[in-house]
């Protein structure tokens, strides 16, 4: 009985994951794409839960869907929804090549995993209830994977600095950037 429920949940989550993924790349309006991505992230969180990764699922929803996607939506709102025809532009072989490459990657990954892992995929390890809990994650972060933890914090710091620099308003005149800006503004008007 539990198995059936889990299967059902899995099917729904997986399906919505795939559907939202396709939706992201298909919508012309970036706003809708961003919303679709939020749906994608939510479905993934469900899948994570099924895989006993509670903390990661929580983090996904809070950080990814909560912070990152909100930022996306802010920027999309600020920029306005320029639409572009998804299948247009570029050299003639771009689209064909893209589909081919993506399809090939898909096929290859499945084949490789099938070849290499084969029957072993059916036997999972036994886990206890502590698996994937915040305690375990915290402990691992501060003992086995301390270096990764610290480096990640540095990466975040760098990103913050970068964002500040990119977002700062440059002086409108006097600097080179200001001059170029002025020239371009005048050219487009």
């Amino acid at each position: 009985m539990g198995n059936v429920v889990v299967w059902a949940v899995w099917v729904v989550a997986a399906f919505s994951c795939l559907a939202s993924g396709i939706a992201v790349i298909s919508f012309t309006n970036p706003f809708y794409s961003a919303l679709a991505l939020i749906g994608n992230l939510a479905s993934l969180a469900v899948l994570y839960l099924l895989l006993s990764a509670e903390f990661v699922a929580a983090g996904q929803v809070l950080v990814y869907a909560g912070a990152v996607m909100v930022m996306f939506l802010f920027v999309t709102a600020y920029l306005g929804g320029h639409a572009d025809a998804p299948w247009a532009g570029g050299p003639s072989w771009q689209q064909f090549g893209a589909v081919l490459a993506a399809g090939a990657i898909l096929v290859e990954v499945i084949v490789v995993i099938g070849l290499k892992a084969g029957g072993r995929l059916s036997h999972e390890a036994k886990i206890d209830s502590n698996f994937g809990s915040p305690q375990q994650i915290g402990r691992l972060f501060l003992t086995d994977h301390l270096l990764a933890f610290e480096i990640t914090s540095v990466v975040l710091l760098v990103a913050a600095v970068g964002a500040v620099i990119l977002g700062a308003h440059s002086r409108r005149s006097g600097t080179t950037a200001g001059v170029i800006h002025e020239r371009e503004v005048r050219a487009r008007s």
Binding site: P91, Q94, G97
Partner: protein, 647 residues
């Protein structure tokens, strides 16, 4: 002694290099003096070598010196080797001595020419090359010298390079010499293949088991000698070579280079003696050439051409001597011939120079009135040429003729031919003398010589040459030109007195360790030959006097013979038809059917292919991020397969 030998060889080379490197930084005169001094030093060094060698006993007289070995392949070694022995020393003295006189003469003759430095550089190069040839201690260095004299000859014949006739003559000389070089190289290959060292004298031990191989080697060597010495059948280049300046004709095409063939045969006589048929062939070719050249000289109208054919004829005598095995006589005649032939050329050069480049004998006459010294020297040279005692030619030529007696029907035939040659020599030599020197001056001579006209010195009546200062010509030329001529005249008189065959033969004795003669004529044979030769020579002079001086009889007219002789027995036409035309046709055919479509076409194809490749490659550079991302994705695809498959 060895050091002196090396100095003798290298001094002219140093001069040539110096002149080349200094270029226009030295004056023209200075270049001339550098060149002349170097040849004089060579001569001095050669004298030193000679003195030292003479002081030794005859069986000791052979020294070799190798500068370094540059070819080492198993048992085959070739080095920069020079050999000092009686034969090479004799040639060294002749080449450097007569060379010095002629180069000194050139100072006056080429004075004022724009490219005088180049001339003297080439002359120094030539003297070096000829010395390398005669001093060579192995066949390879000999071949090097052989080739270099051919090169120097080409450069000097074509010295006045604005004249198409000169260029054509230079090419002709070079190509015909190249034929000889090829046969010689083939001969060397055979020697090398049979494990011979190429050093003298080891190279002469071609074993008795190799019967027909020895004949091939001898034929190859004979081919080279025939080409270099302008004998039948490769003789056509020598008359054309007269396009070069007169001192060049004197040095290269009379005294030294053309005698290299004779030197070669004498040096390698051991090989020839093992191939007696080829040696007889050499004698026969010499005899045929001397006859043919004598006949052609009868109808020539250009002074230098007469003397050129005379050279061809006299070298025929030398070949005859070498072919019969009379090596000492042949070399002796080589020496005396160098004296009187150089004398004749230089004296003729004095006349040409005085007449502002005119060489046609028909316009000349009575030159002796204005140039008495030249007349005397020319007369001496002609008498020496014909072989009238006590002048030089008598002593040397008759020994050769005498060597032909008493050995068989073939040699008797050669004897007869040689005697006929003497008659012809008398006729053509004195035809030349009587037409040019004695008597009343012709109108042309009057105009140019008698009134001291300002002549613009242009060598050769046909076509342009380099700029040349004007000189006044009245009478004899400058001292720098007449002095060498006088020296040579003296040598032409006394040069023969060094050997009087039956009684006193230091030359043959000197050469004996190197080249033992095959035949020694007896006293009666010598006397007989001399008698006939002198009588026929005098008869020839008499005929010439009657026809051209006293004008008692008319020159007989025989149209067919005249045409035959004027066309030089149609050799040029025959060679043109047999060799030149087919080559040109073949070259044309190859160009049209192979060169243009295949080779040129393939180049165009390759170029087009590369351009197309570039075009297609350029289309990848779109500048779009998406394209590059696609490239990354595609490589990912490929790499995954590779990693999976290879692991």
């Amino acid at each position: 002694m060895i050091i002196a030998a090396w100095i003798c060889l290298l001094a002219p080379l140093a001069a040539a290099l110096l002149i080349t490197l200094l270029g226009t930084r030295i004056s023209r005169r200075a270049a001339a003096y550098v060149s002349t001094t170097s040849v004089l030093s060579s001569f001095a060094a050669a004298l030193v070598v000679f003195a030292k060698l003479w002081a030794e006993s005859p069986d000791q007289r052979s020294h070799a010196s190798t500068a370094w070995e540059w070819l080492n392949a198993g048992t085959f070694h070739v080095g920069l080797r020079i050999l000092v022995d009686p034969l090479s020393v004799m040639m060294m003295l002749i080449v450097s001595g007569v060379g010095f006189l002629i180069v000194a003469y050139s100072i006056g003759y080429m004075d004022g020419d724009d490219e005088e430095r180049r001339y003297f550089g080439y002359m120094a190069l030539f003297v070096f090359s000829m010395l390398a040839l005669v001093q060579a201690g192995n066949l390879v260095i000999l071949l090097v010298g052989w080739g270099l004299v051919g090169l120097s000859s080409y450069l000097l014949i074509g010295f006045w390079h604005e004249r198409p006739a000169a260029i054509a003559a230079a090419k002709k000389a070079f190509v015909m010499n190249a034929i000889g070089d090829a046969t010689m190289a083939l001969a060397f290959f055979i020697l090398i293949q049979h494990g011979q060292s190429l050093n003298f004298p080891d190279t002469f031990d071609v074993g008795p088991g190799h019967g027909w191989l020895v004949n091939l080697v001898a034929l190859g060597l004979l081919g080279g000698a025939v080409a270099k010495s302008a004998q039948l059948p490769l003789q056509t280049w020598l008359p054309d070579a007269m396009e070069g300046p007169t001192p060049v004709s004197a040095l290269i095409h009379a005294a030294t280079m053309v005698t290299a063939g004779v030197y070669l045969i004498v040096r390698t006589h051991a090989i020839f003696e093992q191939a007696p048929r080829v040696q007889e062939l050499a004698a026969g070719l010499g005899a045929a050439t001397l006859l043919m050249a004598g006949l052609i000289a009868l109808v020539q109208t250009d002074i230098k051409r007469v003397i050129a054919y005379s050279t061809m004829s006299q070298i025929g005598y030398m070949f005859l001597g070498a072919g019969l095995g009379a090596y000492g006589s042949a070399m002796f005649h080589l020496m005396t011939h160098a004296f009187f032939k150089a004398l004749l050329f230089l004296a003729a050069g004095l006349v040409i120079h005085a007449l502002a480049g005119e060489q046609d004998m028909r316009k000349m006459g009575g030159v002796g009135r204005a140039m008495p010294v030249t007349r005397i020297t020319f007369l001496i040279g002609s008498l020496a040429l014909v072989g009238i005692p006590p002048f030089a030619g008598f002593f040397s030529k008759d020994s050769i003729i005498a060597s032909a007696l008493g050995q068989g029907w073939y040699q008797d035939l050669l004897f007869a031919v040689a005697l006929i040659g003497t008659l012809l020599t008398g006729i053509y030599a004195f035809r030349l003398y009587f037409l040019v020197f004695p008597g009343e001056p012709s109108p042309f001579v009057e105009e140019h010589l008698m009134h001291g006209s300002h002549a613009v010195g242009v060598e050769g009546a046909h076509g342009e040459s380099h700029g040349h200062d004007t000189h006044e010509h009245r009478g004899e030329g400058p001292f720098s030109m007449t002095a060498p001529v006088l020296v040579l005249a003296v040598l032409a008189v006394i040069g023969g007195w060094i050997q009087f065959a039956p009684l006193w033969h230091p030359i043959s004795d000197w050469l004996e360790p190197v080249a033992r003669p095959l035949t020694e004529p007896t006293n009666t044979q010598e006397a007989l030959a001399s008698l006939f030769a002198v009588l026929l020579g005098l008869a020839g002079i008499g005929v010439a006097w009657v026809l051209y001086s006293a004008r008692r009889w008319q020159v007989p007219r025989w149209a067919l013979g005249q045409r035959l002789l004027e066309h030089k027995f149609y050799f040029d036409e025959a060679y043109d038809f047999a060799f030149y035309r087919p080559s040109v046709a073949l070259a044309d055919y190859l160009r049209r059917w192979f060169e243009e479509p295949v080779i040129q076409g393939s180049i165009t194809e390759v170029a087009g292919g590369v351009r197309d490749l570039g075009f297609w490659t350029r289309r990848l550079q779109t500048g779009l991020v998406r394209t590059y991302a696609l490239a990354i994705a595609a490589s990912l695809v490929v790499l995954m397969v590779v990693f999976v498959a290879v692991r």
